[in-house]
Symmetry: C2
């Protein structure tokens, strides 16, 4: 049998014609960089204001155009975010860049609008267990705070998003009923916001949830843009991002990611954190999904920023592209 | 505005009714454990036969029922796989377990059928560049070798699968044309095999490729079972696995995984390797996808095996479940 012809002849250049079927979606996915906020917030070593400003400058050089720059939270609770006002004051003012400031309540929004933040991102957990432990009040009270924050942001002419924390699972109360997420989402959308975000704060979610939760909120005519925030704590983050990018929606989709994959998880201290900007970009690019902010990303340059940040934080890069190298699977 | 009722009242137990929409697929996905072969082959430290036998015993205790136990390759090329015959001789003979032996050619199959291997897995690369460098002959010649190996396996009453290496991208020639994969797949199916596998040997693939390549082979009536082999080298492995589990096919689907995620990638030495059995199981379980071999997996016990293997190999666990902890997202 070894003398039989296989019917396969040596192809001189079999790789030159490689293509994959592109997904139905052609609308671009917006990438939102959260490294300067979520990426730093869960690392043990607080970075000085100057280093945080340098990080943001390096991200802008990579083509990042929307980024969570700071959070206006209590310095005694989150020392990594001390000096939000100083960071904002030091950033270049650019019409093509959206700086996002995270707040938990009306007081945070009042601080934020005193700075050059273009967008206020209000975090509202969907479970009372998390709300009480993390923010000292039940969900209903935090929605009232969110309403106040939205009012403050609108009054100052800033755009505003609401991020639903622990929408995929709660570290204190476990599984979360999708209907509960839908209820809090509806309350958030009723505030008149520019974007709703579903956050897998502790990295427990799976693609079926991405689709299931989206199905519950996508019919709301007040939904203008849907953003997702995934952590790779249990190695499901990129699968979730791929599922989100495949969604066929009438509204734009945005995905959070953190350069280098920094960020960790406060509820699983040894685990990895946010999905990494460079790895997410690779996944989307090779899948034929166009992106905005950046539309293209130099993966080598991104890996250099990650390595630099790793040195600043004394924490390992969890993104893999820097170690594995770029590779194009489509010709 | 802070006094306004949000319409969301405190829910006493919002988590108790949590469900996610189950995917359309109800057919189980078979898990194939490749830790004893691919997991060890790319680690620097060869393990003695006794330790490899112990590893397989521990995997059987976890519920693993189909596993790549050994490879019959040249000892001078792959010192980690020395002693395949001794490993096979030391394993418990069980009717409910399928031991797979990997071979590259007819000679390997001759060795394999002298042992208790239930199944012969023949690896055939789809690019000449990889075939020449890795196995010293072009694809056409290796398909002839595969034909010989299938003949030997059939003559000895063993089942046989063919794994198409570098089907998602080649470290030497780059992108691979899907038509090339389809051509080699057709030649492999013409040999009369029990299963075809598509392997992302270097971890460059994305979900769109999983669907695209599957579309090219699923119509072949000789296809009896489709298996996928993913590496997480660039953080796309679990997204690919999720895409494979979502495929709606007339034939059963199997997924390779390695306990602890050991295995590395010889073409990216610093990168992580196979997708991890425990993390894959978590992803599928939480997605509502039933599995076989194991139907259920004790994630704590699996993490213990990974930790033990990490000590034997002096190599870190890349699976995340052990660090992050199990969490159920469905009530």
């Amino acid at each position: 049998m070894s003398g039989r012809s296989s019917g396969i002849e040596a192809a001189p250049s079999p790789v030159e014609t490689g293509t994959v079927d592109l997904p139905a979606r052609v609308a671009p996915v917006e990438l939102v960089e959260v490294g300067p906020r979520d990426g730093l917030q869960n690392e043990n070593r607080p970075l000085p204001v100057g280093t945080r400003v340098e990080l943001i400058g390096r991200l802008l050089d990579l083509g990042v155009r929307r980024l969570e720059a700071v959070s206006f939270v209590r310095p005694d609770r989150v020392p990594q975010m001390v000096g939000a006002e100083e960071v904002m004051a030091a950033l270049p003012q650019r019409d093509d860049v959206t700086y996002v400031g995270l707040v938990l309540n009306r007081r945070g929004a009042v601080r934020a609008v005193e700075t050059a933040c273009d967008e206020i991102n209000v975090v509202v957990p969907v479970t009372d267990a998390f709300a009480e432990r993390n923010q000292g009040a039940p969900v209903a009270a935090l929605l009232d705070e969110a309403a106040g924050a939205v009012e403050v942001a609108r009054g100052a002419g800033r755009s505003v998003s609401v991020t639903l924390a622990v929408a995929f699972g709660c570290p204190f109360s476990g599984p979360v009923a999708p209907e509960r997420v839908a209820d809090v989402a509806e309350a958030a959308l009723a505030l008149g916001i520019d974007e709703l975000a579903l956050a897998d704060t502790i990295g427990v979610g799976v693609p079926a949830q991405v689709r299931g939760l989206t199905a519950l909120v996508q019919g709301d005519e007040r939904l203008r843009r849907l953003r997702f925030h995934f952590h790779n704590t249990r190695n499901t983050g990129y699968a979730n991002a791929a599922a989100a990018a495949d969604l066929a929606l009438d509204v734009p989709i945005a995905l959070d990611a953190s350069i280098g994959g920094f960020g960790g998880c406060p509820f699983a201290p040894a685990a990895t954190g946010n999905i990494a900007t460079e790895d997410l970009f690779y996944l989307l690019r090779e899948s034929g999904v166009p992106t905005t902010g950046p539309a293209d990303l130099d993966l080598g340059a991104a890996a250099e920023v990650s390595t630099w940040l790793s040195e600043q934080l004394d924490s390992p890069v969890t993104a893999q592209l820097g170690r594995a190298g770029d590779a194009r699977v489509r010709a």
